[in-house]
Symmetry: C2
Subunit: 358 residues, 2 copies
């Protein structure tokens, strides 16, 4: 069998026409010893896909863009350094496909913050100039550090969106030691928010979902939320200094951030896990001092967190709320993200001819 070095994917070529996916053939990044090549089985649609193709996060890095970084597939080729993954194995790939592997962050479970050679799974540029392209495609290639064996108990369509949305919500819960006895606030119930609820519950915490409307109340409670709160005037009073963390998945500029801050216990954290394009509401020391709370952001998760999360998902039978579509309906999937219609993640199923080997 000749080596696999190319892929065929649904690509956006023009950010002004960002729902016009065109089937496009392209070369994968040049293979290195640590690379794993995966044939895509399915791929989730993430808010990042929309931000990227619509230009919200700036112009394309590569000449075109194949989105998708919630990928499940089968290993079809491995580089000479790859010892722990075999051809035929089912694996996942998330939003990151490489890092420098040398810096202190890469060595202390913070490779998701590597400042040297962070490479996105799509629209990433490798040090050698090659581009990465994502999982709305037949094949994806990534460094073995960012390719995760999937436990048997997890269906591919359920695992897919855990690899970005899941771990993005799980990582702050993990890093802030959320568990039994903790009280977690979740702001916004979309793809990320629904995972924040599911994983916080799986960790044994009490969960309060905050939303600006009653629309998703029933869903939140079905997911296991203990309380659902509409952020009307004065909503924060009942929760004064009671929450151990707030995981916020909402856009930021219109958020009652100063009110939310008052609901945090002393020294606790309000964590934006999405990547809204707008600025945070303004903050003052006066508003922040009464409970010494903190506001910050978080960026996906590291390998050890992804593996821990996958094990937790099996152990606690965490089931994401997903719908599936064939990959050719990518434009519709993006539109569902854009309009907030996705309930709560769309997983695109492989439908491209598998025979694209060079």
């Amino acid at each position: 069998m000749s080596p696999i070095n190319s892929s065929r994917g649904y690509a956006i070529h023009d950010q002004k026409d960002y729902k016009n996916f065109k089937l496009t053939d392209y070369e994968l990044k040049r293979e290195q010893a640590d690379d794993v090549t995966v044939h895509v089985e399915c791929c989730g649609t993430c808010g990042s896909d929309h931000h990227t193709i619509s230009g919200g996060w700036g112009p394309f890095v590569a000449p075109f863009c194949v989105t998708g970084h919630e990928i499940v597939g089968e290993v079809v080729q491995v580089g000479s350094n790859v010892k722990n993954l075999q051809v035929g194995q089912r694996v996942g790939i998330g939003a990151q496909s490489s890092s420098c592997m040398e810096c202190k962050y890469c060595k202390n479970d913070n490779e998701n913050y590597c400042p040297v050679a962070w490479t996105d799974t799509y629209q990433g540029k490798y040090p050698n100039g090659d581009f990465s392209q994502g999982g709305y495609s037949t094949h994806v290639r990534a460094h073995q550090q960012f390719v995760f064996p999937l436990p048997e108990g997890l269906r591919s369509v359920d695992a897919a969106s855990m690899l970005c949305a899941g771990v993005t919500s799980y990582s702050p819960l993990n890093r802030h030691n959320i568990g039994k006895g903790s009280k977690v606030g979740v702001v916004g119930l979309g793809g990320l928010g629904h995972y924040a609820v599911l994983f916080a519950k799986a960790l044994g915490a009490e969960v309060v979902v905050f939303s600006h409307s009653e629309r998703k109340k029933e869903d939140a409670l079905k997911m296991g939320a203990d309380e659902f709160v509409i952020t009307n005037k004065g909503f924060e009073e009942k929760y004064k200094m009671s929450l151990d963390i707030i995981v916020c998945t909402s856009s930021s500029s219109s958020l009652p951030l100063n009110e939310f801050i008052t609901t945090l216990d002393v020294g606790k954290h309000f964590v934006f896990v999405g990547m809204p394009e707008d600025e945070w509401p303004s903050l003052t020391s006066q508003a922040m001092a009464p409970n010494g709370a903190f506001v910050g952001s978080s960026h996906i998760g590291c390998r050890t967190e992804i593996l821990k999360m996958l094990d937790l998902a099996v152990e606690k039978n965490v089931k994401p709320w997903i719908t599936t579509r064939p990959m050719k309906e990518a434009a519709q999937s993006i539109e569902d993200v854009e309009t907030g219609k996705a309930r709560y993640r769309t997983i695109l199923l492989q439908d491209i001819d598998r025979e694209v080997q060079a």
Copy 2:
């Protein structure tokens, strides 16, 4: 001897004329079983004094204001519940004089964040309606929880400003586990900043002082700072993701906050310890995500931290940089704060007639 229930202090009666201190007689708060009455020996001048009397933090709570919450003095009277402090003992009082003592924060070393009955040492209002007045005076009364025995090895004039400025800078270092091997950034070298340097060094950390001008370089290095950095364009590059905490004592709106954020290690904290009157520069998730850092504020410290700090000060021979003045020069001391001339804390020495007993 008749009981002591009144005081004489230098008071501001009009926020529009906020350097016009008038010697004023007044009743202390009504004594309760946990109260300790202290004859003032000396009292530091804090930025809070200026913010309060000039109206920057809003109108007075009480009819007039005797500032001063960095108080050292001698116990002259104790309530019936006070077991661990004796008349004649040398003690300190900081910025807080009471709290509810019942809530979970009061019970877990977070009484400095008590949301139920936090009472400032001056311009505080007790549940019974009485007002607190501060240490530019002969006598101050506070709940025993907020009256600290001073170790012998510490001079009164050195201890005074530790009780607010000192612990305000020490508390975040303590709560974020700063010690040997840590790298601490200090932004702004005033009263608080100089304590951040002294205590970070006493804890064994490496210290980088950031300032907008070279003016205080020599002082910073004499205090023990390992590096002094002028915040010119690009200053942050050398420190990318290297600091374990930044203690910021500067005013906020003109601060290169987004640049400072990039100097924090993953998940670390930028802590405003002052109470600037202005808003923080705007922040975005994009700016905060690359290192998952946090921004927040901190509010003085709790009793156990104050006691730990005082012991550390003796053990490591921490010497604040102070100047002293007679208390009648309070207006000049306030002006030195206002113009940034204080190097680095002014301690007012008792000069009022001691005989003001009722």
